[in-house]
């Protein structure tokens, strides 16, 4: 039985359990005449039976599906002859993959030897046994659970409270998913990074000036041994981020000021949604625009005034990224400006200052912490932005502050290191996770500070 069919059968069983539970509740209550008072509505008795029928069986299934492949693999490998078992882990993985493909009916693999054939048969055997056991156990569990729950149904049984406790538990579990995700991110990036730092010292990673992750595959190759100094990557990231901020902060801030203080209601009602469209355009589209429209335009412009511009200049990527971030900066600034109490504005205007003076001398200083928090969030967004730089920035790690040259960023390198087929254990692949860790820590710090400032500030005038 396929897992999906099994789930459907379980759901059907629990529906039956719901019906039987409800029917029994009605029966013990003396049918439709309701001669005995039930503690809960009859439906709750049904739900009680259905929950006991469905949840334990589903939980078993989930555990089973998670751990089964590992256990089966271990059993198959244990059954292999001594010669194969003493292979290196990598070769053993390869062999097991072949076995698995053969067992799945892949006829393209080269002619297997007797040992492999035995292992394939064993794998099929184990898998089908495991499937049978799973079906038997989960169905048995479902029926037992349903029947036990059904037998407990009595007029004074507190079915509603039980059901509500279970639902509350499920809601609580759902709310922890955010924490689980964070832990998952930290752990998955962290462990691979530790493996990376076992091969490459942390100091080289953080302070090395040379980034060229190409490692020699064979010992006799000329290729470098790979150097993993990330300073050029962080410098490139900072360069592009600064260009983006130079575009986004003034434009976003001035837009927010204009829309909040100067524009008529009609202009605002048109301009604001239009600008919000900018925030909804997928980043891959910005990347396409940066690579195919902005970069050539900047290059032509540069050449016409006699400047040498790389075709994948940091400027093009940075400017387009800045445009992408304008709505973020402007909406956060708008929040901050609107949080300044009306009285401060009116006071300044009443003393005879112009609107720009009110803005520059009264409102902006008061709104500054909120704006800075917003800018921090925008910086974090720019650092983590991937598609624009992957498509429009370069691959070569140049250590330069010239915006007309090509630079590379942390996210570009993560993508280049992980796209395509590599073995999973090489320092090159693991380096991507180390970069991911650095990226995560940097953005997390910016986010926490930014969110804290924004929120604290918002409360200040409330």
């Amino acid at each position: 039985m396929q897992p999906t069919t099994l789930v459907l059968v379980l759901i059907a069983l629990s529906l039956t359990a719901w019906y039987c539970g409800r029917a029994r509740a009605l029966a013990v209550a003396g049918g439709h005449s309701r001669s005995v008072r039930l503690h809960s509505l009859p439906g709750y008795y049904g739900y009680y039976a259905a929950i006991w029928c469905l949840l334990p069986a589903l939980a078993l299934m989930l555990l089973w599906v998670t751990f089964e492949p590992r256990i089966v693999a271990a059993l198959v490998i244990k059954g292999l002859p001594e010669a194969q078992r003493s292979l290196s882990p990598g070769e053993l993985d390869l062999l097991f993959n072949t076995i698995r493909n053969l067992a799945a009916g892949d006829t393209l693999a080269d002619h297997p030897d007797a040992v492999t054939n035995d292992a394939v048969a064993a794998l099929r055997e184990y898998s089908s046994t495991s499937r049978r056991l799973l079906v038997t156990f989960s169905l048995a569990l479902a029926v037992t659970g349903g029947v036990l729950a059904w037998r407990r149904i009595a007029p004074d049984f507190r079915a509603r409270n039980r059901v509500e406790t279970v639902i509350l538990g499920l809601l609580l579990a759902a709310s922890t998913i955010a924490i689980v995700t964070t832990i998952g991110i930290v752990l998955s990036v962290f462990f691979e990074s530790i493996r990376f730092f076992r091969e490459i010292p942390v100091t080289e990673f953080l302070f090395g000036l040379n980034w060229s992750p190409q490692t020699a595959i064979r010992a006799d190759q000329v290729a470098s041994t790979g150097s993993f100094g990330t300073v050029p990557l962080f410098a490139g990231t900072l360069l592009i981020t600064s260009i983006a901020m130079l575009v986004a902060v003034p434009v976003g801030l001035m837009t927010a000021i204009f829309l909040a203080e100067y524009s008529s209601e009609r202009v605002r009602s048109i301009a604001k949604p239009l600008l919000e469209i900018l925030a909804g355009i997928p980043t891959v589209v910005y990347g396409f625009f940066a690579a195919l429209t902005m970069a050539p335009a900047i290059r032509h412009l540069g050449e016409s005034i006699g400047l040498e511009v790389a075709s994948e200049s940091a400027l093009a990527a940075g400017v387009v990224m800045g445009i992408m971030i304008i709505p973020l900066v402007s909406s956060l600034s708008d929040d901050a400006i609107n949080a300044v109490p009306r009285a401060m504005r009116d006071g300044a205007l009443g003393l005879g200052s112009t609107r720009s003076e009110t803005m520059l001398h009264v409102i902006l200083p008061a709104a500054l912490p909120g704006i800075i928090g917003g800018v921090l969030l925008a910086v974090s967004r720019a650092i983590g932005e991937t598609m624009i730089v992957v498509m429009a920035a370069g691959l070569a790690a140049n250590l330069t502050a010239n915006p007309l040259e090509a630079v590379t960023t942390v996210t570009v390198q993560i993508v280049t290191l992980l796209v395509g087929d590599q073995e999973f254990d090489s320092a090159k692949t693991l380096a991507a996770f180390a970069l991911g860790l650095a990226l995560f820590i940097a953005t997390l710090a910016l986010n926490i500070v930014g969110l804290h400032v924004v929120r604290k500030y918002r409360e200040q005038y409330d």
């Binding site: 809601l171 001035m254 204009f258 909804g280 991507a432």
Partner: protein, 424 residues
């Protein structure tokens, strides 16, 4: 004396101050204009580049379904016959004065490689065509397509353009004879990816995105709503609730590529799920959109006035009954709006999908959740990398389709909010 002095001082400064005011205001107008101008430039250039990809050039040829050409050996097998020869012969008949082998090969390149398949399908569908002769519109090759749409600069050097002088003449001759036809490009919506621009379509990518979004919504919506309900209605004010709150806000701002790393490490390496599968992509995007949905759902729940809860509690409902019988139904439009906005974010997301191997060149249209697939934005990324002129056009077309879907989703969200949303 003093009063007058003050007035003079103010008067003297006033012009300067008003000039400053005007400059400041101008900056504001300019800043707003920058964003809107960019938007205009962006859409104009996009439509300018992409609109032509929705139409494609066809060449009408007099095809003779002759048995000798299809099966020179004698035995005719409709499945594996030489259909390309039919196309070649038709072209050669069209230009009888071309006899040189090299020129003839050049000539046969005017027609797409798909022409043979088209004839094959036609003949298998209707074997009665055998021995007849008829005019058939077959797709032109990408270079002819570009030429016919006027996207090749004829002034360029021969070495710098993809079309030879002879091909120019032939295409012009075909156009003169009325054999070139520009029709709706059905291949764009009916095919998967291809190395030949004129055959490449977005159906595979669309289906991949579709399967992925199904996985995403069916995981993130129930989980997100449940989490929001717990946090708003049941969670005691405690450190734990604060921790969850901080976590959700942070997750919403974590770079999407980091979610891709999570998916690679957990779903693919640890749980052994298949690479390039919509299932894994959907799971990663579900985690990514979860914060969006939780935040929107919480806002929708908070917007339900307390009086409704109090009334329900007052007539004896339990807290769970209050939530599920009253609060959730009233907050549902807001939750759905949040879900649609989350889905539109998921639809445009590219970076995490690159991490989990959804960038492969996949020709087949995926038929399920674990088939190798790609997604619409990833297809855009792949095509944007292709050097051919014809792919740039198709990239723009794919972007237009993607933006169209996003627009539809956002419109749906707005309409939902307007129709079902309630002001308290």
């Amino acid at each position: 004396m003093t009063r007058r002095n003050t007035q003079e001082i103010v008067q003297a400064g006033l012009r300067r101050r008003h000039r400053k005011e005007a400059i400041f205001r101008t900056f504001g107008v300019l800043a707003t204009a920058v964003g809107i101008t960019f938007l205009g430039v962006f859409f104009v250039s996009l439509v300018g580049q992409g609109a032509s990809a929705f139409r494609q050039t066809f060449i009408e040829l007099d095809i003779e379904y002759s048995e000798e050409v299809l099966a020179p050996g004698g035995e005719l097998d409709l499945e594996f016959a030489d259909y390309d020869a039919l196309v070649r012969n038709a072209l050669w008949r069209e230009f009888p004065d071309v006899t040189d082998r090299r020129e003839r090969r050049e000539l046969s390149r005017l027609v797409s490689a798909a022409a043979g398949f088209q004839l094959r399908n036609a003949l298998i569908h209707d074997p009665g065509l055998l021995g007849t002769r008829g005019r058939v519109a077959v797709p032109a090759s990408a270079t002819v397509d570009m030429l016919a749409k006027g996207k090749v600069d004829r002034g360029l050097d021969t070495a710098q353009r993809p079309v030879t002088d002879r091909q120019f003449q032939w295409v012009d001759a075909l156009a003169e004879r009325g054999r070139l036809r520009i029709n709706f490009n059905a291949a764009l919506f009916a095919n998967g990816d291809s190395r030949e621009p004129e055959l490449a379509g977005i159906k595979g990518a669309l289906m991949g995105s579709f399967y992925m979004l199904i996985v995403t919504i069916s995981i993130s919506f129930p989980l997100g709503v449940a989490a929001a309900i717990y946090l708003e209605e049941f969670a005691p004010k405690s450190r734990w609730a604060d921790l969850i709150e901080v976590n959700i806000n942070n997750l919403a701002a974590v770079p999407s590529i980091v979610f891709g790393l999570l998916g690679l490490a957990v779903f693919i390496n640890w749980l052994g799920m298949p690479r390039s599968a919509p299932l894994v992509g959907g799971l990663v995007l579900a985690l990514l959109t979860l914060p969006v949905i939780i935040i929107a759902s919480r806002a929708a729940i908070t917007a339900v006035p307390p009086s409704i809860r109090e009334a329900a509690l007052g007539i004896g409902a339990s807290r769970m009954q209050v939530v599920f019988h009253h609060v959730v139904p009233l907050a549902l439009p807001g939750m759905l709006t949040g879900a649609i906005i989350g889905m539109s974010r998921a639809l445009g997301e590219t970076a995490p999908l690159l991490m989990i191997g959804m960038v492969a060149f996949i020709v087949d249209v995926p038929g399920g959740f674990s088939d190798p697939a790609t997604a619409l934005p990833v297809q855009i990324f792949l095509w944007a990398d292709s050097p051919e002129r014809a792919f740039a056009e198709r990239t723009s077309a794919a972007i237009i389709v993607l933006l169209g879907f996003l627009l539809l989703m956002n419109l749906a969200a707005i309409i939902l909010r307007k129709k079902l949303g309630r002001q308290w």
